[in-house]
């Protein structure tokens, strides 16, 4: 049995035929070919699959594709605008907040939601917010630095 699901992905109306059990992350990666969103675990621990659904960060491995019917979904591919990096993306590069790059899309999507709630987070607040995002390469220090800098850029409207 398949169901048609229609949603907005990075500002574009899309629809796809899905099995009821298909996860949102599988829809995004396998059906809609946006492979920037990653899968790093099967127990909702790692956060590599974080996307925004109707403006909130969620783990797309923890939501069924059909639950996204009518939703506005943003993935890492939708963060840069008109070829310009978002300040948070630029901050990750500037502060060496990534190594292998696998957890990075989830980190950036998570960071953007943090700044929405808390425009000026301190290190402790950032580390606490990242409770659901695992990185095995960086030791987190430069991710924290990047998010602090990205938030600052966003506040100053750079």
């Amino acid at each position: 049995m398949s169901i048609t699901v229609s949603l907005t992905l990075n500002g574009e109306a899309v629809s796809a035929e899905v099995e009821p059990r298909m996860l949102l992350v599988q829809l995004i990666r396998d059906k809609l070919s946006k492979t920037g969103t990653h899968v790093g675990c099967d127990t909702s621990q790692c956060g590599a699959c974080v996307v925004h659904v109707d403006g909130r960060s969620i783990k797309s491995c923890t939501m069924l594709a059909v639950q996204a019917e009518g939703a506005d979904v943003t993935t890492i591919e939708g963060v840069a605008r008109d070829g310009e990096l978002h300040p948070m993306q630029a901050a990750f590069r500037e502060h060496h907040g990534l190594q292998c790059g696998y957890c990075t899309p989830g980190m950036i999507m998570s960071a953007l939601d943090l700044v929405k709630h808390n425009p000026d987070p301190d290190d402790g607040e950032i580390r606490e917010w990242l409770e659901g995002n695992l990185c095995r390469c960086t030791g987190y220090q430069n991710i924290v630095r990047a998010i602090r800098a990205g938030a600052e850029s966003m506040r100053s409207g750079k």
Binding site: H38, C100, N142
Partner: protein, 788 residues
Amino acid sequence: MTATGMGAAVRRKEDHRFITGAGQFVDDINRPNQLYACFVRSPVAHARIAGIDASAALEVAGVVAVLTGADLAADGMGGLPCGWGIHSKDGSPMVEPAHPPLVTDAVKHVGDQVAVVLAETRAIARDAAEMVEVDYEDLPVVAGIEAATAEGASEVWDEAPGNICFDWEIGDRDATEAAFAKAAQVAKIDIVNNRLVANAMEPRAAIGEYDAGRDEHTLYTTSQNPHVIRLLMGAFVMGIPEHKLRVIAPDVGGGFGSKIFHYAEEVVVTWAAKRVGRPVKWTADRSESFISDAHGRDHITHAELAMDDDGRFLGLRVSTRANLGAYLSTFGPSVPTYLYATLLAGTYKTPAIYAEVKGVFTNTVPVDAYRGAGRPEASYLLERLVDRAARVAGLDPIEIRRRNFIKPEDFPYQTPVALEYDTGDYDASMDKALELADYDNFEKRKAESAARGKLRGVGISTYIEACGIAPSNVAGALGARAGLYEAGTVRVNPTGSVTVLTGSHSHGQGHETTFAQLVSEALGVDFDAVDIVHGDTGKVPFGMGTYGSRSAAVGGVALVNALEKIRTKAKKIAAHLLEASADDIEFKDGKLTVSGTDRSVAFGDVALAAYVPHNYPLDELEPGLEETAFYDPKNFTFPAGCHICEVEVDPETGVVDVVSFTAADDFGRVINPMIVEGQVHGGVVQGIGQALYENCIYDESGQLMSGSLMDYCLPKADSVPDFAVTTNVTPCTHNVLGVKGCGEAGAIGAPPAVINAVVNALVDLGVDDLPMPATPQTVWKAMQAAAN
């Protein structure tokens, strides 16, 4: 120093694709008409396979095939090879059991692969895999070192009595015994090095594809060394000549050793793709990774250190049992032998050392290299033992180290365990770390912690490692079955941009940046005009890949040697263009100038002349500007350093909080300090993970109890502090770059520093030992036991 040359903190070239979601990892790749593979894996640790019934699975709509080990054998596929042979004390070779990609007779660990289902979708393959009925007849299980080496233990392999793969030794037993006979004092320790899972954030994946028209195979795989996989799989398992097999390791999401090895799934997707005539894709779930990726560490050791009256080391004897798992993984036997016991001298002048290591088979996942590979085990043992020796001798942990360090004037220093250290300055690194950590004021901070009801401790480790593996002839004499050089090609394109083809593989290390810095420095070309290509045997001439912190020290040097050939040829071309002698040409900042004149030609014009050779010395020089160098190192490199950790322990709960961590490392010359610092951060957190959080636990029946990220505790952002990191440079003496390697240092230096700190915090309560990981429960129990 130029803005993009050696020593500059250049921002990374590769980042743009990763921060925009445009990276290309194996699971991001889809081939037309592909099938999805799901493996049927053993749910039990040891059993005879009495039968496999795939009939129900085959009836599921969308299932194309269910293949077993019998099919694999019928097609003439062999077993997975081991890349390093070890000989026992008595000269006999290690026991090397068959390692079939799909098991036919008996499964040997939970997760052992029994069959593979190929289907139109991932979900169908998975559904059907659960419908394959395997008739398992249980056999007795040994799920750990103690069980496997107990009197009367059941055996994993008939050909390995007592579950011993090898009983190996190194060093001078008699000299060591003599040292103990004259010792004034002896420190002893029993150490368990906990079993770990690398857990790179990208799970392993593989896609096999076969082009029948050309009779060519392509394998996309999450590998740190695609040429090695091509060699092992083509020559030893599948009988595919190398020119008919292309292995591509595109963006790879972390490795930490676990993606060095040649795995069964690579064989199965490659073989199945030809058999069914369609591409076959497999991607591991994280839970599957836990029971199919090679694990790391897992040692039990007893060690003793003999000292004279002044606490000077006289002799060290070490007896280790190392878990190899059920099968020999690609480099499994080398890790607890030549990558471990050869480092037992550490940074100290211990004149006599003897170590014996038993490699033990168990009904668990194979064990192989994980970040540091043998060296963290040696460092943890030694640095814990030295701290204990300090307590035995009544010396300060700093003083006992200073007293026994190999001093700058002692280099080159031949250890009693095979290695010759070229250079180092251990006092200088320790001094830097002590200053940065404000060690002198520790007691003040301890009092402040005590006022808040916390127990504060400080721990130190002064580790050494051997990196940049290795001179091929030395490694070969020690049992390596492959060469360990590296290759690099520099292709100067006609318009002056540069393409580098390197055999090193980047899976987070940032080679696209650091190697481009080397090119920019040598040729004076714009950093942005340099592209680094790696990870594809169809593009890169040859390579041995990245592990053991070898990329800069071996791959980087191969690249620099190729660049030197380019410079030499460019000078000859410029000499012709400028009507001068090549000896008079100076090559600097991208310009070739006749010495002492203002006559010069830009490097870009030299490149163009090489490809449009109208005015060119064709009688003496070939057209084109492309050079390759293979580099085989003269020795290992020896990064070393000092790590200092401060912890606060909550006496009520046993929770350990790492409040500060300082690292002063000697990596030789540094190409990009930003990247080096990042490597230290990541390594230290993996080391803290081993010390405080991570543990791979099997129950008696061989079930992995910590088999998911819900059960296996990886360090999180709020588990660790910011680190204070610095370097102390003594350039490597035997490579032109003077580099030593930095990738593993954190994972080597951190665990003993952390545990020494926790023991130090609790020593006044009478706690003298703690196992890793020092979880709150472990610490609390140790405190209770000491109190009672």
